[in-house]
């Protein structure tokens, strides 16, 4: 009995000391000697859409390997804009709910829509052709709502310029529409363009034909949609010519990877 107690005490002490050693230094050194923060970022598998929001595709291809995150200092979260709080298919009308600004990332490529839209590999054609991304914090969201209200009454559109959106690659601004900015990569022949939707179109930092460097600010996170109401988010598409036609491919894996690299962290897959 006494021996058992001694053994139990020793084992417990050793284990606790080892655990303490692990938790006191939650970082390790990457091959480039920069500290890596583990465990802060999580994501759900590609194709793991919200229940009853469509059928996703488990596309883990990093279609844009050189891409950086469209957001630098601001934390960004891939989230559904239709089926999460604030969305048209949600019972919760608060788009600034804290759950919209928390991990895990969730894929929304192939999410159910009502128009006949094609993609490279979604199981159906009534789909979302990009991913939706929330940026910042619930407080930033509330500030944007407040700014939006003031802008609607005539205040300067720059009031909403809180969260910058970056060029994810070197390229040329190849189109600017009423709610769309296209960025054609300079050197990646595989990709036709990145398409950004819903920036603050009145305060863009770029014009048609501008050459931009990766990391340049092209505009600000907002909810412009050509006069149609939508939530504050960035909708990001990736278009490539594949097998003879322009096709929408999933930006999800590329975005996760870009977040890891841009914010020097490792995202854990939850399944």
């Amino acid at each position: 009995m006494n021996l058992k107690k001694v053994v139990a005490a020793v084992v417990t002490t050793l284990a606790l000391n080892l655990l303490a050693a692990c938790s006191s230094d939650n970082t390790d050194t990457a091959s480039n000697n920069n500290p890596v923060t583990v465990g802060e970022c999580t994501f759900l598998s590609a194709g793991n859409l919200l229940p009853n929001s469509g059928i996703g595709v488990n596309d883990t291809t990093i279609w844009a390997p050189g891409m950086i995150s469209p957001f630098n200092a601001d934390i960004a979260y891939a989230k559904s804009q239709v089926y999460n709080p604030g969305g048209s298919n949600s019972n919760n009308s608060d788009q600034c709910a804290s759950s919209n600004f928390a991990y895990p990332h969730r894929d929304t490529f192939c999410e159910l829509r009502f128009s006949d839209r094609d993609s490279y590999n979604c199981p159906s054609r009534r789909i979302h052709q990009g991913i939706d991304i929330n940026a910042g914090t619930p407080e930033d969201c509330r500030l944007l709502k407040h700014a939006s209200g003031l802008i609607a009454k005539g205040a300067s559109p720059s009031l909403a310029d809180i969260i910058p959106v970056l060029a994810v690659t070197d390229g040329i601004i190849s189109y600017i529409g009423s709610y769309t900015v296209d960025l054609s990569p300079s050197s990646d022949q595989a990709l036709s363009k990145f398409r950004y939707l819903h920036l603050n179109m009145r305060t863009l930092k770029v014009q048609f034909g501008d050459a931009v460097k990766q990391g340049d600010v092209i505009g600000y996170y907002y909810n412009d949609f050509g006069g149609t109401s939508t939530t504050f988010h960035l909708h990001l598409e990736l278009i490539a010519f594949i097998d003879g036609r322009a096709q929408y491919v999933s930006p999800y894996a590329s975005f996760i990877r870009s977040e890891e690299l841009s914010k020097n962290m490792l995202c854990q897959e939850l399944g």
Binding site: K4, V7, A8, V11, T12, A15, L19, C22, D28, A30, S31, N32, V36, V38, G39, S45, T60, T61, I62, P65, S115, D116, R117, R125, Q129, I172, S174, Y175, G177, S178, T180, D182, S184, P185, S187, Q189, A190, S192, L197, F208, G209, A211, F225, G226, G227, T228, A240, F241, I242, D243, G244, R245, A246, A253, I256, R257, E260, L261, L266, C267
Partner: protein
């Protein structure tokens, strides 16, 4: 009773030991991960290979030559060009809409399209025509990714399948002279029902014609 308590104590000790050991191993395994390691099932750099399409320049030139210098001058083609200098050879045949676009169309006749905005890209060019309701965007390319199951070698002209795009727009990819042209109608006012239709897009496609690249120097 004492034997039972002893047995239970032993069991608790073993469970505690196993649990703590597993916790330790999990903790340290996670912290030893490297930022340069992708997640287990992320497939980096396994995109399909990029292939260059074969452009039928003689056929394109023959058709382009139908547009004489006078014809071009009278049509008043005046692309506003960015990053394209006079004498630049484009990677693909240049296809534009004629200036007098309202003559034979019905659905697009109400739109007053701007002069084309053209810029050269890595694999071809992009040309944009703007109007208040609908913009025409054509992305042209001589390159594409080719999947393993695709053995397309005959690059005949084709018109692809129509698809809606975000915000009420529409797109078709067409093949001409071996090059690929993604023809998009972008809706500037998504609240308008039927802002863009396949019939409108077909009118644009039917209106595209090949021009000599010398128009860029005018």
């Amino acid at each position: 009773m004492q034997q039972c308590v002893s047995a239970l104590s032993g069991l608790r000790i073993k469970s505690l030991f196993i649990g703590l050991t597993l916790s330790f191993l999990t903790c340290c395994a996670a912290s030893n991960a490297s930022i340069n390691q992708t997640q287990n099932n992320q497939s980096e750099n396994n995109r399909p290979k990029v292939v260059q399409r074969t452009i039928d320049w003689p056929a394109a030139q023959k058709l382009a030559n139908r547009h004489s210098d006078i014809d071009i001058a009278q049509n008043k083609l005046s692309p506003v060009r960015k990053s394209v200098t006079a004498g630049t050879k484009l990677a693909v045949p240049l296809m534009l809409l004629p200036a007098s676009y309202t003559s034979s169309v019905t659905l697009l006749s109400a739109f007053r399209f701007s002069s084309p905005l053209l810029l050269q890209t890595a694999t071809g060019y992009t040309v944009v025509y703007k109007s208040s309701q609908v913009d025409v965007v054509v992305d042209a390319s001589n390159a594409m990714m080719q999947t393993a199951g695709n053995r397309e070698t005959v690059q005949q002209d084709f018109d692809g399948q129509y698809q809606h795009i975000e915000g009420g727009g529409g797109e078709k990819t067409i093949g001409r002279f071996g090059a690929l042209y993604s023809v998009q109608l972008m809706c500037n006012k998504p609240a308008i029902p039927q802002c863009v239709t396949e019939a409108m897009l077909d009118e644009v496609i039917n209106g595209l014609d090949v021009y000599p690249a010398s128009v860029l120097s005018r």
